[in-house]
């Protein structure tokens, strides 16, 4: 039973604040007046809407289809009427909007017809597609589509499947409560994943401040009789629940940034994900609700089973928010995201609604200059030198920040937590990262533009050549004619300018017409998306694309050059 555990560098021990929200069992939430379900909830492209205003939907009905394989579907979390499909404020620091489906519940919470899958008979690929359409994503917070992670590495099998029940963030207890109350179902989900990944061992890592959860899981393992599954207590130290850190603690393997953990024979899933996989495979229920801890500045911190799309303040009301509440934080105090409003919806990433107040989370003392004391480096679980990255981030010297491995930073917040100068280090790193990404996008755009520009020059060059050849041929023909007929060339020379005049007159006429149109009905036809226009555009686009590959098809005569 005694397993050798490994250590990761750094880490901090903030006050856990987990006791109060674990005193009461998981509670349901009464249906709210409306649900706002963002379509873009996971990593990958935004799903496209499958419903329209006025549609009747059932619980579990797919309302957003996965956009390609690197995406995940979205479902109606209750039965009701689609009131709108519109951009709504999403639970994200930016306060920006995203296309969302607004559902008015009919109060019946009726499941639609569920498409079941025969887990025993289905091939792994079918299971993965099924999970994609069931909208199962990582519930630890990263919301990475699970079906993408359920592929064994190159060898077709996996050494270790790590199940993350560490839950290292202070205040959050939803995984704890899930393990206490639903360990058996969770274990069934784990078995399914183990089967899909062909994993030899399963290690469930649980921080040692959750003895009840550990006991429940161990009891469930014994009851199931399955071999090779082990629930392990790991030392409580933030961020032991980070996937990389947990893998390190349990197996000793360090998965570098930018590499897949399956390359090292390990894969890691959250306990909540395991449970929702079980729900999907066993009962055919897609991911329409999740456990959410409501904690912080509330009278009765507790865990709730919340429908995706429920406004956060609707849930918080149940726990009794205190009057000095000034913000909601999605997630824990170390990595949580400040919400732009109180009524943003609960999404698949919402493991906790942390209710904040100036007294509970006071603003940090004024930022002082870095004194290079190295506390942040001592606390960094990724072995980085945050003070160096900060120094160059502050000076906007992004090349240097990357030399110090900026992108290995997991934004756990340990450095900001310990900094005696109260520097918001992680903010600097987030700033640098997004600036670097923006720059990469610009660089890509510039490269495309260069390519297209060079192609256009090439095309024009060739056209000029072709025109010259044509002219030469024509001239030769004319010369022959002239030689033969000895007619006056005056007519020919006069014809040319008159042709130009005619063209100019045409443009003039068209402009006049346009001016009138503009004066009369300018706004009428602005939003042009009629099918035939689109078809025409597509045809034009296709022609242009054909022109880009001159070897395959000859370029069309350039428009407007008579």
């Amino acid at each position: 039973m005694l397993r050798k555990l490994f250590k990761f560098h750094g880490g901090v021990k903030p006050q856990t604040n987990k006791e109060r929200s674990t005193t009461a069992p998981i509670a349901p939430v009464p249906l709210p007046d409306k649900l706002v379900i963002p379509l873009h909830q996971s990593v990958g492209g935004p799903p496209r809407p499958l419903v329209q205003r006025g549609d009747q939907v059932f619980k579990g009905q797919r309302i957003g289809a996965a956009d390609g394989n690197l995406s995940s579907a979205v479902h109606a979390s209750t039965s009701g009427i689609v009131r709108d499909v519109l951009p709504a404020v999403m639970p994200h620091t930016s306060g920006l909007t995203t296309l969302s489906v607004v559902i008015e519940p009919d109060g019946e919470d009726r499941w639609g017809e569920l498409d079941r899958i025969n887990v025993r008979a289905a091939t792994p690929d079918e299971l993965r597609d099924y999970l994609r359409d069931a909208g199962v994503v990582g519930l630890g917070g990263a919301v990475f589509p699970s079906h993408l992670k359920l592929k064994p590495g190159k060898e077709g099998s996996l050494d270790t499947l790590v199940i993350n029940g560490a839950e290292c963030e202070p205040f959050i207890t939803c995984d704890d409560m899930l393990m206490r109350e639903r360990a058996t179902d969770m274990l069934k989900g784990i078995s399914a994943m183990r089967h899909m990944l062909q994993a030899r061992d399963v290690l469930i890592g649980i921080e040692d401040n959750k003895p009840e959860a550990l006991a429940a899981v161990q009891a469930a393992i014994t009851a199931s009789g399955e071999k090779g599954i082990e629930a392990i207590a790991i030392p409580t130290r933030y961020p032991a629940g980070g996937a990389k850190q947990l893998i390190r603690v349990l197996t000793g393997i360090e998965v570098p940034h930018g590499r897949r953990s399956t390359d090292f024979g390990v894969q890691c899933f959250n306990v909540g994900t395991a449970y929702s996989i079980h729900e999907a495979l066993e009962h055919g229920r897609p991911l329409v609700s999740r456990l959410v801890t409501v904690a912080g500045n509330v009278n009765a911190p507790r865990n709730y089973e919340v429908l995706i799309g429920t406004p956060m303040d609707h849930v918080v009301r149940l726990a009794g928010a205190r009057p000095d509440t000034d913000r909601y934080i999605m997630g824990g105090p170390m990595m949580g995201v400040r919400m732009p409003a109180f009524d943003v919806p609960v999404v698949k990433a919402t493991n906790c609604i942390l209710v904040g107040s100036p007294a509970l989370f006071p603003p940090p003392p004024p930022e002082m200059p870095c004194i290079r004391c190295g506390e942040c480096a001592k606390a960094c679980p990724a072995d980085l030198a945050p003070f160096e990255m900060y120094w160059f981030s502050r000076a906007r010297n992004f090349g240097k920040t990357q030399e110090y491995h900026l992108f290995d930073c997991i934004e756990c917040g340990c450095c900001s937590f310990v900094c005696p100068s109260h520097i918001p280090l992680v903010d600097y790193f987030r700033f640098s990262k997004s600036e670097i990404w923006a720059r990469e996008r610009e660089k890509e755009a510039a490269d495309t533009a260069r390519e297209r520009f060079e192609f256009k020059n090439l095309r024009q060059e060739r056209e000029k050549q072709e025109k010259a050849e044509k002219l030469a041929a024509k001239a030769a023909a004319t010369r022959e004619k002239v030689a033969g007929e000895t007619a006056t060339p005056a007519a020919a020379t006069a014809a040319k300018p008159s042709g130009d005049d005619a063209k100019r007159a045409l443009i003039e006429a068209a402009m006049e017409k346009a001016r009138q149109q503009k004066a009369q009905a300018a706004p009428k036809n602005v939003d042009v998306t009629s099918p035939d226009v689109q078809a025409e555009m597509a045809a034009i686009d296709a022609r242009r694309r054909a022109a880009e590959h001159p070897t395959e098809a000859p370029p069309p005569p350039p428009a407007g050059q008579a």
């Binding site: 570098p256 200059p369 004194i371 072995d383 980085l384 030198a385 003070f387």
Partner: protein, 340 residues
């Protein structure tokens, strides 16, 4: 706009600096016990000058004065200046040195956290180059009473040659050099015999060795408080001991013993309080070892072969120059990129 994390450990620059100051107290107490209370006057002068200089610069730059004057970093600089300067230098010398340190070496670079050089040591170097005579007069333990010290600090009269000698380090070196030359009356005397003289104690200079011991205690407390790490003191003492030991074992009559080197001059102050300044010192673990070992070797070389009595200050500045490169080249491998 506040983003995560929303909770923080109670820690501040102020408390770090305060603990450094507290750790200096035993050393200061020993200093007062053996060399008189004049040092307290010097500490006060230096502190006042540092605060005044800092306040003036902050005012010019439009930075919040209350925040930066109470961070205590200027006081740390001031105390290190007072403790490394001879205790009887005239007041204007202490003031000039402190102002140079705070205004030029620290604030011109942007103030706290930005200076590439150790302000106190830069001030020491500037002053010893500018006023070599004044900066080399060290009273022996118990030689001067408080009133004489005050006279020397504030009075204009400087017939100090009559009442003060050189530091044990300086005296030893002068003696060793003249002992090595054939036409000196000291010719042929061994280092151990020279060190029986009145200025020398059991290990280093009389009294000075006890002050060094007190610094060592304070420094160990800082390590225990996790304000500094063991790397720099250990590497410095180790390298100084080894370098001195090597030459001493080859020619014990020409070179002082390693213990003497450790207990003399600013060795202990340097190892625990000067080189450990995180702003101007190396920050990676391997970098700290290199940095401190380099400083130790340079200190020894300057002490034994150079033109100045103690090498700590110059060695610190020289190693400060190397710090950016050392830090750059000694970065520890990050998570997932370690070679097992």
């Amino acid at each position: 706009m506040i983003n995560s994390p929303y909770i923080r450990k109670p820690a501040s620059v102020q408390s770090v600096m305060l603990q450094v100051l507290l750790a200096l107290v035993p050393g200061i107490a020993a200093y007062v016990w053996f060399f008189g209370a004049g040092i307290l006057v010097q500490l006060a002068i230096a502190s006042a000058a540092a605060l005044a200089g800092e306040a003036a610069m902050l005012a010019i730059r439009g930075k919040p004065k209350a925040l930066f004057l109470t961070d205590l970093s200027a006081i740390v600089t001031a105390w290190l200046i007072a403790l490394t300067f001879p205790p009887i230098v005239p007041w204007w010398l202490t003031v000039t040195g402190t102002l140079l340190a705070v205004v030029i070496v620290k604030q011109l670079y942007g103030g706290l956290g930005q200076n590439p050089f150790n302000p106190a040591m830069a001030a020491f170097c500037l002053m010893i180059v500018a006023y070599p005579a004044l900066m080399s007069q060290w009273p022996a333990a118990g030689q001067l009473d408080f009133k004489t010290q005050l006279d020397l600090i504030f009075g204009g009269a400087r017939q100090v040659d009559a009442i003060t000698g050189a530091t044990p380090l300086d005296a030893l070196r002068t003696a060793l050099r003249s002992a090595a030359s054939a036409d000196s009356e000291l010719h042929g005397l061994r280092a151990s015999q020279l060190m029986d003289g009145p200025a020398f104690g059991a290990l280093g200079g009389k009294g000075g060795e006890w002050v060094a011991l007190a610094y060592l205690l304070g420094g160990l407390w800082l390590i225990q408080r996790r304000i500094i790490t063991w790397h720099i003191p250990a590497a410095f003492c180790g390298a100084l001991f080894l370098t001195a030991g090597l030459l001493w074992s080859v020619r014990p009559d020409s070179f002082a013993s390693p213990l003497f080197h450790l207990a003399s001059g600013g060795a202990m102050l340097g190892a625990f309080f000067i080189l450990t300044d995180p702003v101007s010192g190396a920050t990676t673990a391997r970098g700290k070892l290199l940095f401190a070992a380099g400083a130790a070797v340079l200190t020894y070389v300057i002490r034994a072969f150079g033109a100045y009595p103690d090498g700590i200050a110059f060695a610190t500045l020289l190693m400060n120059i190397l710090v950016p490169i050392i830090d750059m080249k000694t970065q520890a491998p990050v998570f997932g990129h370690k070679k097992d």
